[in-house]
């Protein structure tokens, strides 16, 4: 748990503080110095419009990490809600929710996201919507699974008998038991959201220029691959580092939970 919390804080700090560290305005066009090599003035060089790549990367963290965080948390809320409805709402509700989940899982994630984002019109709103719609099912399945086992636990039955409201039972008995497993799913989905945002950006369906999103930057850099290949390296490297860090934190969390479960 600690590794995930540390990482989350690190990313939030990066997204908040990052832009403050940026040496230039990320959207300031400087044609005379376009496509310049890394140097003293532009640490990582400039892009086709002469914008400072380092500054764009730092501002991009806000888009990539911030949006991914938002999307994964929205998915978490929707999925958990539906999962608990399935687990606690009786047979009909369970069947309905599970078939809905199956239906959404039937679309390959990126294909569905491309269609939704593309059809709704390129833009940040469509991007968020598309990735939320395709990103809640895992949470739902996990929440339902945990919910089904909790439902028959003695303390949940006792709380129900005592007349506790559904809300307080959810708050005190379900949430604490759900959190660890959901946190593991969340790390995975956070990483996927980062990849999804940049993939859609790269296809031109994501965050729109001149906003410096990493995938969009890659799309622009691709045109100048032959003359300034380095320009293409940076945004990709940023994505890989973030995703790798999140995945490793998720693995550590899962191992820690497995150990805890074995100990009990």
């Amino acid at each position: 748990m600690r590794s995930v919390i540390t990482l989350t804080i690190l990313f939030i700090v990066l997204a908040v503080v990052g832009p403050l560290l940026a040496p230039h305005d990320p959207t300031a066009i400087n044609i005379p110095h376009r496509l310049s090599a890394p140097g003293d003035e532009w640490l990582l060089g400039t892009d086709a419009l002469g914008r400072d790549i380092l500054s764009r990367l730092l501002y991009g963290a806000r888009w990539s990490l911030g949006l991914a965080f938002l999307i994964s948390v929205i998915g978490l809320c929707i999925g958990t809600l539906f999962g608990l409805i399935a687990a606690l709402g009786g047979k009909t509700a369970d069947w309905l929710v599970m078939r809905t989940t199956d239906t959404f899982l039937a679309f390959p994630e990126l294909v569905a996201a491309v269609v939704i984002a593309g059809v709704l019109g390129a833009g940040t709103g469509s991007l968020i919507f598309a990735l939320c719609v395709t990103g809640w099912m895992r949470y739902c399945r996990v929440a339902r699974g945990v919910g089904l086992t909790l439902k028959t636990r003695g303390y949940v039955i006792q709380a129900k008998l005592a007349g506790m409201s559904a809300l307080s039972i959810a708050r005190w008995h379900y949430l604490p038991a759900l959190l660890p497993s959901l946190a593991v799913v969340w790390t995975g989905m956070f990483a996927r959201a980062i990849l999804g945002i940049s993939a859609l950006g790269f296809l031109g369906f994501g965050v729109q220029p001149p906003m410096p999103e990493w995938g969009t930057m890659l799309l622009e850099a691709r045109l100048h691959m032959r003359s300034t290949p380095l320009q293409m390296i940076w945004p990709g490297l940023a994505v890989v580092m973030c995703v790798l860090a999140i995945n490793l934190a998720g693995d550590a969390l899962r191992d820690a939970l497995a150990k805890e479960n074995n100990a009990v």
Partner: protein, 312 residues
Amino acid sequence: MINIVLGLLLRTAVVLTGTAVATFTLLWLAPGDPALAVAMARYDSIVSTEIIDLVRAEAGFDAGFWPAFRAWVFPLLSGDFGRSAVTGRPVLPDLLSAIAYTVPLALAGLAIGLLISLPLAIIATRNPGGLLDRFAVAIASLGTAIPAYWLGLLLILLFAVKLAWLPAMGTRTPLHILLPALTLGLGVAASLTRIIRSGILEARTQSFLPAFKRRGVIDSTIGKDHIAPHAAIPVITVLGLELAFLLEGAVMVEVIFSRPGLGSFLVNAVEARDFPQVQAVVIVAALLFVTINLLIDLIYRVIDPRIGESNA
């Protein structure tokens, strides 16, 4: 057993109906006048209201949701995907030729993935926790974090631009498939290595294996008859997941390498707002996906009858 199979088939039917409704609803609710979009795409200039109305009536947009849905879904059942809103040509032949480009790419990617991951996982698990094992795990973790589009660009940069060994763009020669397939295959290899590795390790810890060893059953027999089936279940699961990865990867890879195929077909259709084409790709992808998952479910039950008793 028959009941289980029937149940699975029923569930599949429900899911497919759901996908059709969901797809159609999304496109129905899409902002903007689809008729206008089609007319603009078709005539490529400012169009008069008459033409827009003509297009609207032709596509059945004026009939209301359910009539339009029925007009789309019933021909679909007999394999009629309608006509492209932009070119006016039937969707199916174009779609099939796109699939014909994507399938070899996906298979080549899968083959490369297996060629890398199987030996790597087997060598790694010879000595769990050893140097080779940790190296394999690290490479696999890194591999899953690298997005396909970036990997593709890096490969182009290295093999096509710097070294000029391999062609990158288009499909002119058979050699053109190498870089795209490698891009897909490396991604597949990364996730497969992790899963095969943990599958082998888990099977090894099964309690009956030490007993076999003590009784003198030789190692190769243990590996073949006892470890392999246990490692097979996660591998089958993953092959199902890999299909998703291959499909998604194909979208990106085809765009990067300017290859025709399902991915390019999808992206072009979405950009042109050619809804019949979009619907066709999405439904075919979902159908493919659901069918594979159904097959996996059935195979599970053949390998391990215990699966499926618990989850209804």
